[in-house]
Assembly symmetry: C2
Homo-oligomer: 107 residues x 2
Amino acid sequence: SYNSPCAACKFLRRKCLPDCIYAPYFPPEEPQKFASVHKIFGAGNVSKLLRELLPHQREDAVSSLAYEAEARVRDPVYGCVGAITFLQRQVERLQKELDAANADLIR
Amino acid sequence: SYNSPCAACKFLRRKCLPDCIYAPYFPPEEPQKFASVHKIFGAGNVSKLLRELLPHQREDAVSSLAYEAEARVRDPVYGCVGAITFLQRQVERLQKELDAANADLIR
């Protein structure tokens, strides 16, 4: 309902006020999103980071924080840096294949 | 010297004991590494995460945490997810170019 607290306030067991910094980005239907972000970054760090941004930047910031947090929950050793390593290798492999194909085309 | 505290204990102004969880991964010569990780994840979250891992996994975990933290300090909106988006586009572009080159080779 209109008055149900956001996922962050529900998790932190506090009253969700009209100016809640979390509410626009952590709807009650997605409780896992806040739980992951809280586990990895801590609620205080998240609200501090959001306050330091302009309002129009906050949705993208929460999306990227949630992505990083979920990757770290799944893979506590590498987190989303595992995806970066994988993609860098894929780029190297494709670039080599492309160079070889272009060399064949010139021949 | 042998007795100088690790970068984490120096930052947190506490005595660096022989069993310090941070010391193997945060040498005093790299103060910025701990400062970034502390700012983004919080010292408590980092030590909790390290304790949940096997000792041989901790160095890689600290490297990936430091990478994520430094990316988030540089780019508070996208952090290292900006690198993932960039690499994904590069993979798509290279795959298209490779498909086109291979089509030309068959012709």
